[in-house]
């Protein structure tokens, strides 16, 4: 793999944790082995400081300059190298990168909504909320809130925010407990990378890093708890980005949300050897999704059909 020639990428990759699906299976740390699953990680380490979210290839000049500058005007998402770490906190991996790529891909739509309040539930390392705040830019008066059930994750998120010069309120809580009354109807952007790995129910919410991936039956236990409160939280123009695994049955999730009055579409679909990830986006059906350029919102049943075709590639 060409990336491994670069010592800076070698360091980044050798510290990469396994993606959530592998956390249950393997306990030894991964190496930069050129395994297929690391392609996205390597790619993200390359492009994460490029400007304007454009997918550029690296010029391979060996320069480290653009990785090290904290407040470069070109920076648009968080730098993996500036993300704080803790042994009990899930580090940015393919799922985190897919979610940030989805936000980048939808950046024009996000900016057009002029969100007042953005909330990330389950912020972990802080990579996603930091990236969201950076890609939105600082001039819009947007308020960012991040929650995590793990106090170690909350501290790591604080450190990641600080190392990028980004402000957000970080709260230790279960999903949004303690915030729901005051935030009801006012969340404009909601982002959730849930514990999505199918596990026995008793592993859900367990201590330490397990809470970041243990998702119970079909990986849906925590996702379903969140789906039950999305309608309460979201503003009329709200957008909800949810990362799912094929095993979570994203088509069914879209049907559940449709009954609550939300339209949906896939922003990003990405497969590795271990898992097939989708980033789903939901918005209130009576509000036009600006990214659709006026065409009717994608129906959730056609989305289900698309997902079952994609599942072939698992």
């Amino acid at each position: 793999m060409a990336d491994c020639r670069r010592p800076d990428l070698m360091r980044t990759l050798s510290s990469m944790p396994h993606r959530k699906s592998l956390q249950r299976q393997i306990s030894s740390p991964p190496l930069c082995s050129g395994e297929k699953g690391n392609v996205f990680s390597a790619w993200h380490a390359q492009v994460d400081n490029k400007g304007d979210g454009e997918l550029q290839t690296d010029d391979d000049d060996g320069s480290l300059g653009h990785y090290a500058v904290v407040d470069s005007p070109r920076r648009r998402i968080a730098s993996v190298r500036l993300v704080a770490r803790h042994p009990e906190v899930y580090e940015p991996c393919d799922d985190s990168f897919a979610l940030v790529d989805a936000l980048l891909a939808d950046k024009v739509n996000l900016l057009e909504r002029q969100p007042s309040l953005c909330l990330e539930v389950g912020c972990g390392s802080g990579y996603v909320i930091t990236s969201l705040a950076l890609l939105m830019g600082g001039g819009h008066g947007t308020h960012y809130i991040a929650t995590d059930i793990s106090s170690a994750a909350a501290q790591v998120t604080c450190n990641t925010l600080a190392s990028h010069g980004v402000e957000a309120d970080v709260i230790v809580t279960n999903l949004v407990t303690g915030l729901e009354k005051r935030l009801a109807g006012s969340v404009d952007v909601l982002v959730f990378n849930p514990p999505y790995v199918p596990t026995p129910e008793d592993e859900v919410g367990a201590a330490g890093i397990t809470a970041s991936w243990a998702g119970g039956d079909r990986g849906r236990t925590v996702i379903d708890r969140m789906l039950a409160i999305v309608d309460l939280l979201m503003s009329s123009k709200g957008l909800f980005y949810l990362l799912t695994l094929t095993a979570n049955n994203p088509g069914e999730i879209c049907q559940i949300m449709k009954k609550k009055g939300f339209a949906s579409r896939i922003v990003i679909q990405r497969s590795t050897e271990e898992e097939s990830l989708h980033v789903l986006k939901f918005w209130r059906e009576d509000v036009k999704d600006l990214s659709e350029n006026g065409s009717p919102a994608t129906l959730s049943n056609s989305l289900s059909a698309k997902i079952s075709r994609l599942a072939f590639w698992r």
């Binding site: 007042s116 309040l117 600082g138 001039g139 819009h140 008066g141 947007t142 308020h143 809130i145 059930i149 106090s151 909350a154 501290q155 604080c158 402000e167 309120d169 970080v170 709260i171 230790v172 809580t173 279960n174 407990t177 303690g178 915030l179 729901e180 009354k181 005051r182 935030l183 006012s186």
Partner: protein, 122 residues
């Protein structure tokens, strides 16, 4: 934890009707400079529970926040500076938030409030 954060939190223990505002127990405060952004202040103003913000400010020793406000004050630079400082620059680093109905104490550690409930409180 900034007073902005405090203004968004309430106690959600089973049986609690309002649980807001939480009173603040101070062990250690810190002041950190934040970028002055009038747009942010104007954006957040209508979302704040002003009385809760005012009372919280007084309880941590910030006495220059007026009790009564109206949106025209958002054009007054001097007011915006005081509002900015109290809302965004003073941090509760160590202490607790206390439910006005049950007295339940939610700890604030290294600037982060912990709102997790015990099983019998859900």
């Amino acid at each position: 934890m900034r007073l902005l954060t405090h203004n968004m939190l309430s106690c959600n223990i089973k049986g609690v009707t309002k649980g807001f505002p939480l009173s603040i127990e101070v062990q250690r405060l810190d002041t950190k400079d934040a970028d002055f952004n009038p747009d942010f202040l104007r954006n957040i103003f209508p979302k704040l529970e002003w009385k809760a913000f005012h009372d919280a400010a007084v309880s941590i020793g910030l006495n220059d926040i007026p009790e009564q406000v109206d949106p025209t004050m958002l054009e007054d630079h001097e007011f915006l500076q005081k509002f900015h400082h109290a809302l965004l620059e003073v941090h509760l680093e160590e202490g607790a938030l206390i439910c006005p109905e049950t007295g339940r104490r939610f700890p604030v550690t290294k600037g982060v409030p912990n709102m997790l409930l015990h099983e019998d409180e859900v």
